[in-house]
């Protein structure tokens, strides 16, 4: 059984006015039951013991209904019972910061975005958000776990409009507020005001920028685009539930079938990717998952070779592994846990960004994801970014608008020949990963450094 409460606050200002300011509270409980290997889940936001008992009954009834259809039955990998409480660390409680102060910061940053855009920016926005989730987990196996996770962040965006053209520029990474498990200190560290003019300016410049060149080029992806690249082409296909087909009805399956485990060449020897729920401040960081399994670090791809999946107690058993590696999370009290990414990180290499650019003859450097699409096995993808710069003979050249690139996952990662070093490595939050039916939105993290991929098809469909 899980009891989950969430409080949230978002403030968004747009063109000098408040677009939306919302405080929200959401709480309830859910019970997952396993009867004769079949699952039932029921949940309610109505408090009281009477309701809990009714919901428990409903969950058992649903499990019995599940068993009416024959087929696979669940066997759970063992987990040690534990009693514990954990809180994600932060310095400044975002719910203690005065609303008026938050507004003042956002309004002044947003104004500078417009100033920077010089009349071309039709819509300028600044937003900040905070969320605290308190969850309690109790199981008939004897665990009782409490966790409190505080997230906070802020961002700017500028939309510039020209004849038949719309261009977006954001800071720090796309149109999302929450960026990690921090307090208000994360917003202060962003220096929104200091970055605002540039955001407006670049949005306006993008209207005049040339098209991204077409054809095979070497590309260097900034960490803001690596987030999406890792998420879609490694994070999702290594989810073991997808591999077993249990997401087939919605998001799809995976090309990383179990026969490939331990031997498939996922990428070049520069590519080592881990699932790490233990990195501080990640959006996929926790002490226990929603099955009570400790959060951990698992190597998914080791020097290019596919080594492991993110798993649950049920799927680990099915794969013949002794224990789950702790990737089961539910989006609140009213959802069953499913396998979710934790922080899926590309381990750093030894290049600086300057060295990488100097070493590139004919390429494009790209920042911040703008569009994404990938097939249901996670092979053919096409991703677009907000902005790019040509690289000619080892130097950054002209700005290009709406750059995009396409590829097939293992071929693309095989072309990875340079990964940035520790100094360039950065962990980002992705608060909008959708999966499951009913829909569940997960907060996950992705860390990487700027990375180069050789001979990638860019400028598709222009």
């Amino acid at each position: 059984m899980r009891f989950v409460s969430r409080v949230g606050e978002t403030i968004a200002v747009k063109n000098g006015a408040v677009e939306g300011a919302t405080a929200s509270t959401d709480l309830g409980f859910g019970l997952r039951v396993l009867k004769d290997g079949a699952w039932g889940f029921a949940s309610s936001s109505t408090p009281g013991l009477e309701e809990v008992l009714a919901v428990a009954d409903r969950a058992v009834g649903i499990a019995k209904a599940s068993a009416l259809v024959p087929g696979q039955r669940a066997k759970l990998a063992p987990v040690e019972p534990v009693e514990d409480r954990w809180e994600s660390p932060y310095k400044k409680d975002p719910f203690d910061v005065k609303l008026a102060d938050k507004l003042e910061l956002l309004l002044s940053a947003e104004k500078r975005v417009r100033d920077g855009g010089g009349g071309k920016v039709m819509v300028a926005q600044a937003s900040a958000g905070a969320r605290r989730e308190e969850k309690s987990f109790a199981s008939t196996e004897g665990s009782y776990i409490e966790q409190a996770i505080t997230e906070c962040g802020a961002g700017l965006s500028a939309y510039a409009v020209g004849p038949g053209e719309l261009q977006r520029r954001t800071y720090p990474n796309g149109d999302r507020e929450l960026t990690g498990c921090y307090g208000w200190e994360a917003v202060e560290a962003l220096d929104l005001v200091g970055n605002a003019e540039r955001v407006g300016q670049e949005a306006a410049q993008l209207l005049e920028a040339k098209k991204c060149p077409s054809g095979p080029k070497d590309i260097i992806l900034d960490t803001t685009q690596m987030v999406l690249q890792i998420h879609e082409s490694c994070g999702h296909p290594t989810e073991l539930d997808r591999v077993y087909g249990t997401e087939a009805g919605f998001a799809g399956t995976s090309f990383l079938t179990t026969d490939k485990l331990g031997k498939f060449k996922y990428g070049s020897d520069k590519v080592t990717i881990v699932a790490d729920a233990t990195v501080p401040h990640g959006m996929g960081t926790f002490k226990y998952d929603d099955e009570g399994v400790p959060g951990q670090r698992t190597v998914l791809v080791d020097k290019g070779t596919f080594k492991n999946y993110t798993t649950s107690r049920e799927t680990a058993t099915r794969l013949g592994q002794k224990a789950s590696n702790g990737a089961m999370r539910a989006d609140g009290w009213n959802r069953m846990p499913i396998i979710r990414m934790t922080n899926i990180n590309l381990e750093p290499g030894d290049w600086t960004l300057d060295e990488m650019i100097k070493d590139t003859k004919d390429g494009v450097y790209m920042e911040i994801n703008k569009s994404w699409s990938i097939d249901d096995k996670r092979l053919n993808f096409q991703f677009g970014t907000e902005i790019g710069w040509e690289i000619k003979d080892g130097a950054l050249g002209d700005m290009v608008k709406s750059p995009n690139y396409t590829g097939i996952t293992p071929e693309f990662w095989a072309g990875c020949d340079a990964v940035g070093d520790k100094k360039h490595w950065k962990l980002w939050g992705t608060p909008n990963c959708g999966k499951g039916e009913p829909m569940q939105v997960a907060h996950v993290g992705h860390g990487s450094a700027p990375t180069r991929f050789r001979k990638v098809r860019v400028g598709v469909g222009q």
Partner: protein
């Protein structure tokens, strides 16, 4: 106390607790059940009961919003205080006029779609229906996956300007993806009355498509004639709606309609409207501000006619009134059409195939995403049944393809339109009724291995 009485009590209490110049309370309650199956067994099966309260407090031209799902007096009071405090610290939203009044909201005669059968359906009934799909799949040596959900949704809206609304609606969704070794098939159903769900037809269609989809061949990317089944057409329409059929996008110049109202934007045979009162859709006769939903012609015979408004966006244009398309209060993206109808034609899908010299038949799209909102360019993959058509006949299943194409370009290239529209879920919020279409030209820009 009935659910209706409970929600009405919450509405009145909140208005009583409020001290703002204007206050609006929106209560949505839901009992949702979803049975999920994959590889021919039920692997998830859920129930959820929830009631959410949203309060908008207005002081002059300042608006605050707070939400809770705790319904005790103390929580409701705290939520209202929150909304009022948030409103008070703001600068004025200069172009905000007022929440809608009782007069603005209009008289309502239309009914929401509601079915007692859906409201009373059980996990056992859903499991037995899923069992029929998985049994047919097993018999054919395939793997079936999908979901069967039923929901009762309750909407209560009240504001301090006299609006009082309450209605209940039901909805049942069934999807089936059936997978064989080298290809898959898909079918779905959406009904208000679960008793009308054609479970066996969904099973047979998905299994049949799967059978036909085995051993696909690769074809070269490029421009092809294309036949899009309703799910693919509805996918394009939902992105068209999201990118440009709401007033805010138009006003901010982000819409393909910006500056083009009255001009031709697609071929003459394309007509699209929104009608939240048509029982052929998932009718709910008022929007999230309690305003009567009006039928709005969006694109008529290829000409851009209008977009949809809520009270705020209507207030920004002289003489405009809300068309009854407000989204839930926290949405921040302005009004959107949620009950879209594309005008059907007179062809059977077989006729569309017969009229195709060399083209591609698409069952549905997957992971579609906008590339360029003003040009309405989108990209995505085909999925669950893609076929090559030659000389009027389906020649062979083909491997899935990536497309990159403008939606308006596609609707400018319609040669023929199917006569049997299907109702398709839209972003989980609305529905779209769309027929199959045949297009002269559609751009496929890549392929994949399966």
């Amino acid at each position: 106390m009935t659910a209706k009485e409970r929600i009405q009590e919450v509405l009145e209490k909140c208005l009583r607790f409020a001290s703002a110049d204007q206050t609006e309370v929106v209560v949505t309650g839901q009992d949702t059940y979803l049975t999920r199956y994959a590889t021919n067994y039920i692997h998830q099966n859920t129930a959820e009961t929830d009631t959410q309260v949203s309060v908008r407090s207005v002081f002059g031209k300042k608006i605050g919003l707070a939400q809770t799902n705790a319904l005790d007096d103390a929580s409701l009071k705290r939520t209202i205080e929150h909304a009022e405090r948030i409103a008070k610290v703001q600068p004025d939203l200069l172009d905000f006029l007022s929440l809608p009044s009782k007069d603005d909201a209009g008289e309502i005669t239309a009914q929401a779609v509601f079915s007692d059968r859906t409201a009373a359906s059980t996990a056992e009934e859903r499991a037995r229906a899923v069992g029929r799909i998985t049994a047919l799949s097993v018999k054919n040596g395939f793997d079936a996956a999908g979901a069967f959900s039923t929901a009762v949704v309750r909407f209560g809206i009240a504001n301090s300007l006299g609006i009082r609304r309450y209605t209940e609606a039901t909805r049942a969704n069934l999807s089936a993806i059936v997978m064989g070794p080298t290809g898959s098939g898909f079918a779905e159903g959406l009904q208000s009355d679960v008793g009308k769900m054609a479970v066996d037809r969904v099973a047979e269609t998905a299994v049949g498509k799967c059978r036909d989809a085995q051993n696909p061949v690769a074809v070269e990317p490029g421009d092809y004639e294309v036949i899009l089944e309703p799910a693919a057409v509805a996918d394009m329409i939902q992105f068209l709606a999201y990118m440009g059929l709401g007033a805010l996008a138009l006003q901010e110049g982000r819409s393909f309609m910006s500056g083009r109202i009255g001009q031709k934007v697609t071929g003459e045979n394309f007509t699209l409207w929104d009608d939240g009162t048509d029982p052929a859709g998932m009718a709910i006769p008022f929007d999230f501000e309690g305003v009567r939903r009006q039928k709005v012609m969006l694109i008529e015979k290829g000409v851009a006619k209008s977009v949809v408004y809520d009270s705020y966006t209507a207030g920004r244009e002289p003489g405009k009134k809300s068309t009854g398309h407000a989204l839930p209060p926290a949405a921040q993206i302005g009004a959107l059409p949620l009950n879209l109808f594309m005008k059907p034609g007179d062809a059977e899908v077989e006729d569309l195939i017969k009229a195709t010299k060399r083209g591609i038949l698409v069952t549905r799209f997957h992971y579609t995403n906008p590339l360029h909102p003003v040009l309405t360019t989108i990209t995505g993959m085909t999925r669950d049944g893609t076929f090559l058509v030659e000389n009027g006949k389906v020649k062979s299943p083909i491997k899935n393809m990536r497309f990159t194409n403008g939606i308006l370009d596609a609707f400018d290239a319609i040669e023929a339109i199917g006569k049997r529209p299907a109702l398709v879920d839209m972003f989980g919020l609305g529905v779209c009724s769309a027929p199959a279409v045949k297009l002269k030209k559609f751009s496929f820009t890549g392929g994949t291995e399966h």
